[in-house]
């Protein structure tokens, strides 16, 4: 495979990025580990959803819906595994599968390198992610779950701010074009 190549969809010429070997696995593992134990020391860090940000980033960068949704599924299932017994396997899996697919699909059509675009997309994906979780909980698990609250809005904004800087860091894992 080429390090980078142009994905030609109509008039668009959007670059598909490749990453250094093991970068996706390591970044995913790192995000899951941080998500699992950082809130123990900094309780307010629980507002961050690092696995979601990783899913969004690699979805937007790889721009392949199939790999994006599979990566999202893997990250979601692993996040489910590390969550408590109230989170059945598949809850975050479904949500992140959808996010992986959407991020890859949108990434294939839009230029998502600009920080403002990343900020806006993260807020939107956070909302969709929460919507899918609420839908799953309500329909499949018969559990009450709010569609959206002020707390979730704040969480979406904070995650989006963090995403801007985190994505800049993750950009360094790309192979040079």
């Amino acid at each position: 495979m080429n390090d980078t190549f142009d994905l030609r969809g109509g008039e668009l010429h959007i670059e598909v990025h490749k990453f250094r070997a093991g970068a996706i696995v390591l970044a995913t593992a790192f995000a899951l580990v941080l998500q699992a134990f950082v809130p123990i020391y900094f309780a307010k860090a629980a507002i961050l959803d690092l696995p979601l940000l990783i899913t969004i980033y690699f979805g937007l960068s790889r721009r392949n819906p199939s790999t994006g949704l599979l990566l999202g599924m893997a990250i979601g299932i692993l996040q489910d595994s590390l969550s408590g017994p109230t989170v059945p396997l598949g809850l975050y899996g479904i949500a992140k599968t959808v996010i992986g697919y959407l991020a890859s699909s949108i990434g294939a059509r839009l230029d998502t390198e600009h920080p403002l675009a990343r900020f806006a997309l993260t807020v939107a994906f956070f909302g969709v992610h929460q919507g899918v979780i609420a839908l799953t909980r309500r329909l499949l698990l018969s559990q009450p779950e709010p569609w959206f609250t002020m707390h979730l809005l704040v969480a979406a904004l904070i995650n989006a701010v963090v995403a801007v800087f985190l994505f800049m860091l993750l950009d360094r894992l790309r192979k040079p074009s």
């Binding site: 699992a36 819906p65 590390l82 396997l89």
Partner: protein, 305 residues
């Protein structure tokens, strides 16, 4: 997927993957299973990193707290020293209050067991201005019915007697004063002899002949014959006995703590009294009629009511 347009492949894949996970959820709900195997694998894979991370954070935090975040340590230290000093003072005050409460409780108990005995409690407000005489001042005087020659006691025993009474204060001659004395008797042998002060912490029981049987540690109580103190009030215990040419030299340790008096009772009568002692104190039988009596040596003639 052959034959499907490439843009629809991922959509079908999405549907399949989501459906698969919905089935996974359904299986978990149906079988009440939590996918233990997958969780065990994931936790097993992640926990070493978590452990290492926790260890690293702990190390960094310790290093930071012990070597870098010390800008407030000096101020904290000063505050802790101040707080420590205040707490020490508070402890001392509380200990003092607890001791006072104990004393007052003992006095109240003593007072309640002798409700029929007219007496008034008084607080010690001063001592003697010279070291030669053993006197104290009380915060009550003539207004409270205190007169000369009235006895002063504590629940522990005899203290002394009033030698001067003023409007609101009274002066007490302690038993340890060399001019003081009280009619006393030995608890066991019932030998009645005066006990007097020497100006020192110990008292002296006088005129005990070498033939009299006196034992160290024996209790000495009031005989009641001095018409100041009721019979059987504790005076002290025999501390040591030395043979003399005619009389034994018998030293008595006062029952009342005369060095640390803070509250006392003044017996508001000069009539002979019968007092009930605490159940822990043995009660002596009445002295035989005609037995020799001892007298308070100063003033020479007690007032008669």
């Amino acid at each position: 997927m052959v034959g499907l347009p490439s843009r629809h492949r991922s959509l079908f894949l999405l549907g399949g993957v989501v459906l698969l996970q919905v089935l996974l959820l359904a299986v978990q709900i149906k079988r009440d299973s939590q996918g233990r195997l997958i969780r065990v694998w994931t936790v097993g894979a992640v926990s070493p990193f978590e452990r290492a991370g926790a260890h690293g954070i702990s190390h960094i935090r310790d290093t930071w707290n012990h070597y870098f975040a010390l800008q407030n340590t000096s101020r904290d230290n000063e505050e802790l020293k101040r707080e420590n000093g205040a707490l020490k003072l508070q402890i001392t005050q509380l200990q003092s209050k607890a001791a006072e409460a104990d004393r007052l409780a003992a006095m109240l108990k003593f007072r309640q067991t002798n409700l029929d005995v007219p007496m008034v409690s008084a607080r010690v407000i001063g001592g003697s201005a010279d070291s030669a005489s053993q006197t104290i001042y009380l915060d009550r005087g003539e207004r409270d019915g205190i007169r000369r020659n009235m006895g002063v006691i504590t629940p522990d025993g005899v203290v002394g007697k009033i030698i001067e009474s003023y409007k609101d204060t009274a002066q007490v001659l302690l038993l340890t004063d060399k001019d003081s004395g009280v009619g006393a008797m030995l608890m066991d042998s019932r030998v009645q002899k005066p006990v007097g002060g020497t100006g020192e912490p110990f008292l002296v029981m006088k005129y005990i002949s070498n033939e009299d049987d006196v034992n160290s540690g024996e209790r000495v109580v009031t005989s009641g014959m001095d018409r100041i103190f009721p019979r059987d009030l504790p005076v002290g215990t025999i501390a040591d006995i030395k043979p003399g040419s005619t009389f034994k030299q018998v030293r008595v340790r006062p029952a009342a703590n005369l060095d640390r008096l803070e509250e006392v009772f003044v017996l508001l009568t000069l009539k002979p009294l019968e007092m009930k002692l605490d159940s822990s104190a043995p009660v002596a039988p009445a002295p035989a009629p005609g037995a020799p009596s001892a007298a308070i040596t100063r003033p020479a003639s007690p007032e008669k009511p």
